[in-house]
Symmetry: C2
Subunit: 344 residues, 2 copies
């Protein structure tokens, strides 16, 4: 358990060559003669040598890690995102330094400070709600490429900054969902759930309003009901949809969790989504396909987003000169039974 670790020196001594030669063999250089190479290889096996990448990185002034900081790993959406990012980083020979912040901007500062000391080649950050751009800037400095995912911190000078931003097409997505309901004949459509002060909720509400506006002046935005973005809170607030007559016949929900909660709330009133009331979600979480009824929603494929974020950050690591980009991600409307009900 406690023997000293095997180093290049041990190998060199073990087979009577210099450290430099062993290093060349390790790195697959064609310089060493074939038999030297073989001799060294055998010795490496024999002594159970493990490469010390930290030492190599120090000498070469490179880094083989990327920090991945997420606001909430217990949310399947971000877990998938993390899995996708880790997958792509691993495939490129990078190791993922994980940090989770539990939506606390303070913890996020601590976590990032600690990760910075490990000299990541880049940083993928899905910020905690309420993150402050200046505070982040302070810690992250200007040496390391940063990609911000999903949410905008406050007070970011995007033009002056070198941060990439990868956003979901929130506005466009909500617009698609709303248009879909309009096409089914609905005229009283609510926007249901989410925190109105989050950037994603504001954008989705805007897309909802866009679609209604395009559909003609006669149609006004319906009620906008705020809830925590969770199933339970959505279920608790669903009565609010029916507070005033005439009640809406459909709701564009902030996300899938909220939509599933609303379907629960509808059931309590004896209404069934897809038969008596139309519901759409956002995210296409795994449950969406198997709920009763299955949920019409917008798919953004978080795992693919994770891969995309990793690919992008590695590009910037390799080409430090290039400009930062603000990217938006495709959304796809997936039509399922929850929005089947049509209005003549």
């Amino acid at each position: 358990m406690n023997t000293r670790r095997v180093t290049l020196n041990d190998i060199a001594r073990g087979c009577g060559v210099s450290r430099a030669t062993v290093s060349l063999v390790l790195r697959g250089s064609p310089l060493p003669a074939a038999d030297t190479r073989a001799k060294v290889q055998t010795e490496l096996k024999k002594q159970g040598y493990v490469y010390n990448r930290a030492a190599a990185n120090l000498r070469q002034r490179r880094s083989s890690s990327v920090a991945l900081v997420v606001n909430d790993l217990s949310n399947p959406f971000f877990a998938e995102f993390a899995a996708g990012a880790d997958e792509a980083l691993g495939a490129a020979g990078y190791v993922t330094l994980l940090g989770s912040t539990s939506e606390s901007p303070e913890r996020q500062q601590t976590v990032l400070t600690s990760l910075m000391e490990h000299d990541p080649a880049g940083i993928i950050l899905s910020p905690a709600e309420g993150s402050d751009g200046e505070a982040l800037q302070q810690i992250l400095g200007t040496h390391v490429p940063v990609l911000v995912f999903n949410r905008e911190p406050t007070r970011v000078q995007w033009t002056a900054s070198h941060w990439d931003y990868l956003a979901l097409a929130n506005r466009r997505g909500a617009e698609l969902a709303t248009r879909h309901l309009l096409e089914r004949g609905h005229r009283r459509i609510a926007f249901f759930g989410g925190h109105a002060d989050s950037s994603s909720c504001r954008e989705r509400r805007r897309g909802y309003a866009d679609a209604l506006a395009v559909a003609g002046l006669a149609i006004e935005p319906g009620p906008m009901i705020e809830t925590a973005p969770t199933r339970l809170d959505a279920a608790a607030h669903s009565a609010a949809l029916f507070a005033h007559a005439p009640a809406p016949t459909a709701a564009v929900c902030y996300n899938d969790a909220v939509a599933l909660g609303l379907m629960l709330g509808l059931a309590t009133r004896g209404l069934r989504a897809g038969r008596d009331f139309a519901v759409t979600g956002f995210d296409d979480i795994p449950e969406a396909a198997v709920s009763t009824p299955p949920l019409t929603t917008l798919a953004t494929d978080p795992r693919a987003r994770g891969r995309q974020a990793a690919t992008r950050i590695l590009e910037r690591v390799r080409h430090p000169g290039t400009d930062a980009v603000r990217g938006s991600v495709p959304v796809r409307l997936i039509i399922r039974a929850s929005s089947e009900v049509t209005i003549a």
Copy 2:
């Protein structure tokens, strides 16, 4: 974007002291005089110094990271586990090196090899299904403490090995669920779902058989139906429960996903869980509390398990001499409506 990184040397030169003094200030030593200390602190701020922990670790022959390798980050159970582990590691000043294997033993070998080169102080491993203990041993060597979570790799010499093992109380949990159904008067109880060749499924089946045996010789194990541990596959196989008369009146399911799938399958036959048929799960995933009906299940609190795993591995890092332990984790039966139906 591309200025050289600030080092101790820059700080030392910047305020006219030696590198050693700066290092002492950084590490909070009481040796330097108060005014020297102040001078150095100011210079650190001014130049935006970032500590290079890798260099320090190299010199001190320590490590400030722990590798966390999980089989499936998109499963909420393991995502929670990872979040808990990362939380505890972070609090102890360690950084988490993440690796995910997507249940592929081959990928697991690659991932672990790469992580080993980053010199982790310890390894928390939730093995991919079908992991081979000898192959793992090969890569992990004997220098680094390892904690295996949740599943046993094949061919592990636990007595000879220095690996910790943290298991769920699979047997005990399934026994609790089965006993609960027996107490409600059920006499024909099936075990439903899971792969019979996974260690956790075998253990849960054993606990199920235990409870039936205790209940008296008259009660024999009912059908054992194999499925993938997913909602969809479980739904697809639920008809098998009713293939032979007399059909069971209750099922102990391998896990919550399977139980939710079975409830879907029951609905297809016009049966409702909790009214016409009793169902129990395992894991207490978030959906269990809000499904229709809510699911009776066994809670193991994966986030707390993650914290526990981290705490344990750090203990072994600090006390390398101590023996490995095989720990089992408490389970708690949570009774909800899905098992409400009683048999007179």
